[in-house]
Each structure stands twice: as C-alpha cells, then as structure tokens.
Symmetry: C2
Subunit: 200 residues, 2 copies
C-alpha cells in the first residue's frame, strides 16, 4: 500500500521533479511566461539552486522537448508492435491512441513540447528539430505504406493529411479534458473522422 522501493515514487524529488513541474509551467504560461523563481517555488527551493541540476533555462527546455519526443517515440513503438497485423484503420487508430497517450497519459512533456516548440529559442530548436523530424518520418512512412497498399485514397498528399491529423490531435491539449472524456473513445472518434469523414 505504501510505496515500495525504487521505480516510481508518490512524490518524486530532485531533477525529475523539477522537469515535471517545469514542463507543466511551460505548458500553462509558455516558455518566456514562466520564470525560474516561479518554478523554484513550486518545487520548494530557491531559484539559484536550480542551477545545480541545469546549466540554463534553455537547457531545461531542451531536456523537456527531448523527453516529449521520447514519450511519443515510445508510444509509437508500442502501437507498432501491438497492431502488427490488424486491418489498416485499426492500425491507424492504435497509433492515434498512442499519440494521445503521449499527450495526456505520460506526464506533461509531450504536451509541453507541442505547445512551446514553435516559440522556443532558435538554439533550442536546432537541437530538437532532428528528433522531431524522425518521429514525423515514422508517421509519414506508415501512412505511405498504407497508401501503397491501397488502403488510403491514392489522390491525397500523405504529408498533408498527416499534418492535418497532427494539428487536430495536438490541439486537443487545449480543450480535451481527461477527467470528463474517455481517451479510447476519443481516439476512436478522431480516427473515424480521419478515415471515414463526417459526411452522411
């Protein structure tokens, strides 16, 4: 009942705790809108002490953006192995569910990533862009294969439909409420809209 030993603690401390709270703060107020003193107070220390764990505020953001991608990649991995031989639409739904899981169920890193990346300092973006590209390439490749197999409309631009789908999923961070909505149902709804459309 009480926490046992090593893996996940009820209230973590140190570096991971800082990253968690920083990601949540950046998500809510934006990168420039959140101050280190605000962050320090949230985690219960003084601003200067943060520099024992991180070289700079930019460095902190870089780490958060990196973790955001790691979470997405891991989710993609799991969806890939879990949906190895299901029909195309179910495969897409598995990956949609995985991406939503990254956004809502694995800490604030992915949500903070998709919301703060655009206005991040150039030096930070430079580091993260290749990682982003790699993740997006996996999606594009998956959709490209489905199109080659005849499962996706051959007239659509795979890159465009991916960006549209990403926009829809990522924007849900702004309005989807995990307390009120069910993520499985939401993934099913967004996949149905993506695959079949809404026309009667």
């Amino acid at each position: 009942m009480a926490q046992s030993a090593s893996n996940t603690v009820l209230v973590e401390s140190g570096r991971d705790r800082i990253l968690d709270e920083a990601a949540a703060l950046f998500l809510r107020h934006g990168y420039e809108g959140a101050s280190l003193r605000q962050l320090a107070e949230t985690v219960g220390m003084k601003a200067g002490s943060l520099y024992y764990h991180f070289a700079s505020k930019d460095d902190l953001l870089t780490e958060i953006l990196r973790r955001g991608i790691d979470v997405m990649q891991t989710a993609f991995d799991e969806a890939e192995t879990a949906s190895a031989d299901v029909r195309p639409v179910a495969r897409v739904e598995a990956h949609v569910r995985a991406h939503l899981s990254a956004l809502f169920e694995n800490g604030p890193y992915t949500a903070a990533h998709v919301m703060t990346f655009r206005t991040a300092p150039e030096t930070v973006r430079e580091v993260v862009v290749p990682l982003r590209d790699a993740y997006e390439a996996r999606w594009t490749e998956m959709l490209r294969l489905l199109q080659a197999d005849g499962a996706i409309d051959p007239t659509v631009d795979v890159n465009v439909i991916r960006l549209v789908l990403f926009g829809a999923m990522n924007a849900s961070v702004e309005w989807f409420d995990t307390d009120r909505g069910n993520l499985d149902r939401f993934a099913a709804a967004i996949t149905a809209q993506f695959w079949n459309g809404v026309g009667a």
Copy 2:
C-alpha cells in the same frame, strides 16, 4: 499607380501600424517573448511612445485578439452569404476557405489570436472569451443544422468534430506556406478529409 488617397496605404503608420507589427511579433515569439522595445524599434519609435497609442501591453494584446475575431467573423459572414444555397459539403468548404482566409490573407491578427490566446494573461482572456464563444457558436450551429438535415453522420458529436477541424485548420499556421501552397486547393483538401475521410 501611386496610391490614391484614403483607404489602404502602401505603408501605414500610427496605431494600425503598431498593431500589425505587434501581432506579427506576438505570433513569432509569443506574447511574453516579444518586448515593447523590440516592437518600438520595428515601427521606428521609442518604447515609451507606444503609450500614446495604448494604455498597456495587455491592452495592446486585447485589441489584437479582438481584431483576430473580427476578421474571422467577417470571413464567416461572407462565406454564409456566398454559400446560401449550395450543397452541404460545398457550404462547409466555403467556411473552411473563409477561416483559412482569416488566418492567412487578412493580416496577422487571426493567426496571432489562435497562437497566443492560450497563454494570454487571465485578465485579457476574460475580455476575449465571450467573443470567441460567439464565433465558435456560429460554427456549431451551422454543423448542427447540417446534421439535422441528414447531411452529417448522426452518430458524431458536432462539438467534437468542430474542435478537431479547428485544431487542424489553426495548426496549419505553423506549417502551411502561402508562397508555396494554394489556399483554394488547401481548403478543398482539408474539407475532403473532413467530409469523406482518407480511407480508400
């Protein structure tokens, strides 16, 4: 050939000029990430002089967010009268085109709105939320009528598909390049994806 008289000047000045550049700056760097000194230098004046035109930075943002909605509302009006009696999917496409027009063809206000609203100060949001709600209600009502007429799948949640569509359209600010892509074609593509889906 040279500009004539009143309506639109090649290079505007004064208050409108400030708003234009401020919206562009807020869009690029976020509200907190853009400074008034940066803005002042862009429009060719000193930071303090901005206060002749605006009471505060928050006030400036409020005006920009308000204009962003005005542009959307106007675009919606035009789409509504232009697509009064066309088939449902064409009606939706007209409104998608109108929203994209607001985002890309009528100054940076709407784009700045959708990108900075989320992290705007609470006092600013309070003022703008009712205006936002009014615009979103028009969309919901339109889709609701289409569903009542049997043109939209009766099993979908109109509010969810609207939010998903909004997410897709608004996120395109991040990646769609007006110099390379055609907005008519993009509106057609996004509408087709919305209406018919991408499944073969």
